[in-house]
Symmetry: C2
Subunit: 208 residues, 2 copies
């Protein structure tokens, strides 16, 4: 494939062009099948320059897994209204996904790389920890922050997969507002509810 818009090698946007080409090709062909040669061709640079900037393909992978949105600003201000934050988290996050600006495709590419192999999983865990989970930890109650944030994250991640990737009818066909209302109390529980109760009365009765 001929390079598109060959850039001056070593120019200020060379690094960004390589990352952009890598993201596209990892999404299109998967991490294993995308080659440094193809990424160089797509970015319009010599593959040797990729090694210069990023070392190995794994290094390129980690750098390319930037979140396409700023989670902290998506979730900003929620602490001001803790009692209604549950549905608002869903409303804002689904709003970002539905924006038709390419964010959803880039998130899907992240997921694909993260689930395909251990190096991808590690890179995605680091990225999510620094962005989405760190932002969520600012919104949740003061106890068990990591657990609360991770539970919200797993629910929203699972919704992303169910709605856009697997297209499971029950969540594919709901409007964003229907999802916000249906999921609000569950997310609210993770944000501010009791997440580490002692054994329930029922279990204690059983034991007694």
């Amino acid at each position: 494939m001929p390079p598109r818009g060959r850039r001056p090698e070593g120019g200020p946007d060379t690094r960004a062009a390589i990352l952009s080409a890598a993201r596209e090709l990892f999404a299109e062909r998967g991490f294993d099948r995308a080659t440094m040669r193809e990424i160089g061709a797509r970015a319009g640079v010599d593959p040797a320059l990729i090694h210069h900037y990023f070392g190995t393909k794994n290094g390129l992978l980690v750098e390319s897994l930037a979140m396409p949105v700023d989670a902290a600003s998506v979730l900003g201000g929620l602490v001001a209204d803790p009692d209604h934050a549950g549905s608002e988290v869903v409303r804002r996050v689904v709003g970002v996904w539905e924006a038709e600006d390419g964010t959803r495709e880039r998130l899907l590419a992240l997921f694909r790389v993260g689930i395909a192999h251990e190096a991808g999983a590690q890179a995605l865990r680091d990225v999510l920890g620094r962005t989405v989970l760190a932002a969520l930890e600012q919104v949740v109650a003061a106890d068990h922050r990591a657990l609360r944030a991770a539970l919200v994250g797993t629910q929203m991640g699972g919704l992303f997969l169910g709605r856009y990737v697997l297209a499971v009818p029950g969540v594919r066909d709901a409007t964003p507002e229907q999802l916000a209302r249906a999921m609000g109390p569950a997310i609210q529980h993770y944000l501010t509810g009791e997440v580490a109760p002692r054994a329930t009365a029922r279990r204690r009765r059983r034991a007694g």
Copy 2:
């Protein structure tokens, strides 16, 4: 690679051997990179026999995506105690995942195939619809069954990815019982709570 334990071609367990080899190789190398020749070698049969039984590689994919556990029996009897079903769903499902009997690896292979490309996503959607979601629809309240089941499914699917694939510390380090207690009320909400409320008082106040 030499075939392991070559089986009589066309024998009664040939089909099962092909499916088992396909599952292993799709998990190890991904759907795109696993070849019919490799699958034949692993199963100890001529690749032509794979075409005979399954047609294309896509056909083999769909057949190989059987759920490794019977969701209906995992979730059986929950309706008898609807008020405590939320935490019990988590307890039973995580119990299946933690069994160290290969189920988790087979579920991960399912996810990988389902997220890698559209044919896999379609196949996984069909399998989940017939098994996990159908079983969940028997447990949830009578209204909005598909939405309720899909919400439970997305939360549990997201937990699987967060705990075992991405290994996000907040959910990786919790015990199964901690997860059951932390997630119980959220799952309970999806099972029997109000999932289609009208606009909340707060939103009505805003509009008024």
